[in-house]
């Protein structure tokens, strides 16, 4: 019998025992689907494994277990299905790296044409499979408004191939192909590619961001998304201890600090308009987030690169203004975006 841990530490979320049973998290339920079960080969502290379990168990609860899933190539696929083993207790298909959204669209079409209209489709990919190689298929799926919830587990790089940069890798982060070399060490300060905003530009029914640090928020968003039809997109920040060079025990803390620093805005949008923003309740300087990660180690120490830290702080501050992250407690008002 496995020991069950129901407590959370260091979060603003209320403990499950204080909630009415119907408000408790899917993870707190002994009857949860356990969509991806234990025994898989993810690294210790893997944010993606956690994110997938949270998302899919919530989706399974919302759809009464009537869910089929596709999974693009990447860590999640590799660590969960080394033949002849599989961690998936739900119907699951892996095809290629770049085609997850198109496979999901085909699944939705096939189910509809077959009259299996109650069965829901969830697509999953990492940031590489979503924002880079899978982006064409993702945009096509959005534009057609296919009945798919597509989930990006964003760990900000190609961790499965040995930590190379993706379009989701933040500036200054050291990766295997953006080394600590030259005047701008780590990943370049590029234009950025925040796919939730691009998803919104397609005016699809639902777009949301979330992290593995806020279970209730993540589950609520999955539940809301599963209550809708058409193309829906959920972008979940999932810290990667390996790629971020952080302690496995810091995964949840890092996800929370990414939000509290303003670097990762948490919000919801419907049909292209922001409908809710999660306010930062205790804003922290980006240093608090960056210093826990070896991928930013070159920014600190002597002499360090306070100029680059300042540029990262400016990005966080811009998010605060742009998304109205400090505007109100409930965060539903005054976002400058989409207004």
């Amino acid at each position: 019998m496995r020991e069950t841990k129901l407590y959370q530490i260091g979060t603003f979320a209320v403990g499950n025992r204080l909630l009415d049973p119907e408000d408790r998290s899917a993870q707190a339920s002994p009857d949860r689907a356990n969509s991806i079960t234990s025994g898989h080969r993810a690294c210790q502290g893997c944010g993606e494994a956690l994110g997938a379990r949270y998302v899919l168990d919530a989706a399974m609860r919302a759809a009464d277990g009537d869910v089929v899933v596709t999974n693009s190539t990447g860590c999640l696929e590799v660590f969960s299905t080394p033949y002849p083993e599989s961690s998936w207790q739900i119907p699951w298909v892996h095809s290629l790296f770049g085609n997850g959204p198109a496979v999901a669209a085909g699944m939705a079409a096939g189910l509809r044409a077959s009259g299996r209209t109650s069965t829901r489709v969830v697509g999953q990919a990492g940031d590489g499979g979503t924002v880079d190689i899978g982006f064409g298929c993702l945009s096509g799926m959005f534009e057609r408004n296919d009945d798919v919830l597509f989930v990006c587990y964003d760990n900000q790089g190609y961790m499965n191939t040995g930590v190379q940069r993706s379009a989701a890798t933040p500036p200054a982060a050291r990766t295997a192909n953006t080394g600590v070399i030259g005047d701008e060490p780590g990943n370049a300060f590029g234009q950025g590619k925040f796919v939730p905003l691009i998803a919104m530009a397609h005016e699809i029914p639902y777009v949301a961001t979330a992290t593995v640090a806020d279970l209730h928020d993540l589950e609520d968003k999955v539940t809301r998304a599963m209550g809708m039809h058409g193309a829906r997109y959920l972008h979940v920040l999932v810290p990667c201890p390996l790629g971020w060079a952080a302690a496995p025990a810091e995964t949840i803390r890092l996800a929370r600090l990414a939000v509290e620093s303003g670097l990762f805005p948490v919000f919801e949008a419907e049909h292209g308009e922001v409908t809710a923003v999660t306010s930062i309740r205790g804003k922290v300087p980006v240093d608090d987030y960056l210093r826990l990660q070896g991928r930013y180690a070159h920014l600190f120490g002597d002499p360090g690169r306070p100029d680059l830290v300042a540029r990262l702080q400016a990005l966080a501050d811009r998010n605060v203004v742009r998304f109205g992250l400090l505007d109100s407690d409930d965060g539903t008002q005054n976002a400058s975006l989409g207004s």
Binding site: P91, N99, R112, T119
Partner: protein, 398 residues
């Protein structure tokens, strides 16, 4: 009922009567008329239930087919040329996963230089992707091969590509008998998938397989292709019994029995080839033709049997491997051994017509020993153009 129809329209009607549940396609010449017509049939409700996905690319088209087939829906797409290449990664995935997708390839050249006209470079480039590759010699055969392809694909749980020459067939209007709905329903049974994504019986499809079992998976693909070699003639025989005409099978020998020289060809060129054979026979020259309907899997025994009496064999190659030689010719050579010389003649690239005059000249040259097996020949090459083209100056000369 025979009626005057464009090849593409006939194929679209035939595919619709095979009742695909999902069609996912991206437009590319010369495939467009097929998928346009299917879109009409889906939107009008004539083909129902069916979902038509207007995807953003051929890669998306084949990927959507993967998803649709994985949930147990009969799935169809069509493409050509660059589109087939853009699908390449997904093609290998479909066959590896054992999904019975049926696809029309409206054969077209591959650039650069960009060229929308017919040859077989597209299909040949995907020779090893694990799909069955059938080549139609006529529009009637293209129609009939599609009916057979759905039966074959679903019986084997393996994808099937029906190749028809772009423009030469797809855009040609001729008298074609499109089987009616009742006939097709009687021939193509409902799709019963080997495995599918079903919440009541969860399966993992597409697991990662390491060195301990990868060879075995690939071996089983090879066995499945070998099985196709037995199924294809059997399905063609069933088709002949029901529809009263011969279409499909793995090879079509034509007057090969006592032929000194046999010309091997795929696709629509066979029409001209057989006419030339008739002409030369009438003139007393002992020639025959061998049409390859099933290029993959390769029907080695049937090719060997058909060429057993030949003293000269020439293969009309509609694509080739630069720096190496013919593609079909190598398979022919492997099949018949060194006993009979095999000449590779590249003709009809990028839409250059495979005229009866060209075929006749090739056959006469081979019979007379003027084309030898030690080189790759280009009988319809325009030497005047090679010699006058400034770009070749300083480089290799033809």
């Amino acid at each position: 009922m025979r009626e005057q129809l464009e090849g593409s329209q006939a194929v679209a009607r035939t595919v619709a009567r095979c009742r695909p549940r999902v069609v996912a396609a991206y437009p590319i010449s010369p495939q467009t008329h097929i998928v346009e017509r299917l879109s009409d049939l889906v939107r009008s409700g004539d083909l129902a239930p069916c979902e038509y996905l207007m995807v953003e690319s051929e890669f998306g088209a084949m990927s959507a087919c993967i998803g649709a087939s994985a949930v147990g829906a009969r799935t169809y797409t069509a493409t050509a040329s660059q589109g087939l290449l853009f699908m390449a990664e997904a093609l290998f995935n479909v066959s590896g996963l054992g999904l019975p997708v049926v696809m029309t390839v409206a054969n077209r050249a591959i650039g650069a230089p960009i060229n929308i006209w017919n040859d077989h470079s597209d299909a040949m480039s995907q020779r090893d992707c694990g799909w069955v590759q059938l080549f139609a010699a006529s529009n009637q055969e293209a129609v009939d091969l599609h009916v057979q392809a759905f039966v074959l694909a679903e019986r084997l749980s393996s994808p099937v590509m029906v190749c028809m020459d772009g423009f030469v067939l797809t855009h040609a209007v001729e008298a074609i008998d499109v089987p009616d709905q009742a006939e097709v329903d009687a021939f193509v049974p409902p799709f019963v998938p080997r495995q599918m994504l079903d919440p009541t019986d969860p399966v993992t499809i597409g697991a990662m397989v390491g060195p301990e079992a990868f060879t075995e998976v690939k071996y089983l693909m090879h066995r499945r292709q070998q099985q196709a070699l037995a199924e294809i003639p059997s399905i063609a025989a069933d088709f002949a019994a029901r529809f009263g005409r011969t279409s499909g099978g793995v090879v079509h020998p034509y007057r090969t029995d006592d032929a000194d020289t046999v010309v091997v060809a795929l696709g629509s060129a066979l029409g001209s080839v057989c006419r030339v054979v008739d002409d030369l026979r009438a003139e007393g020259t002992s020639v025959g033709a061998l049409g390859i309907t099933c290029f993959r899997p390769w029907p080695e025994a049937e090719v060997r049997a058909a060429l057993a009496g030949a003293r000269h064999v020439v293969v009309l190659e509609r694509a080739f491997s630069p720096g190496a030689g013919g593609i079909v010719g190598r398979d022919v050579r492997t099949s018949i051994g060194s006993r009979t010389p095999v000449v590779d003649a590249v003709v009809g690239l990028g839409g250059r017509p495979v005229s009866r005059a060209t075929v006749r000249r090739v056959l006469e040259d081979v019979s007379a020993g003027r084309l030898t097996p030690d080189d790759l020949h280009f009988p319809d090459l325009r030497r005047d153009l090679i010699d006058s083209e400034p770009a070749t100056r300083g480089g290799p000369r033809a």
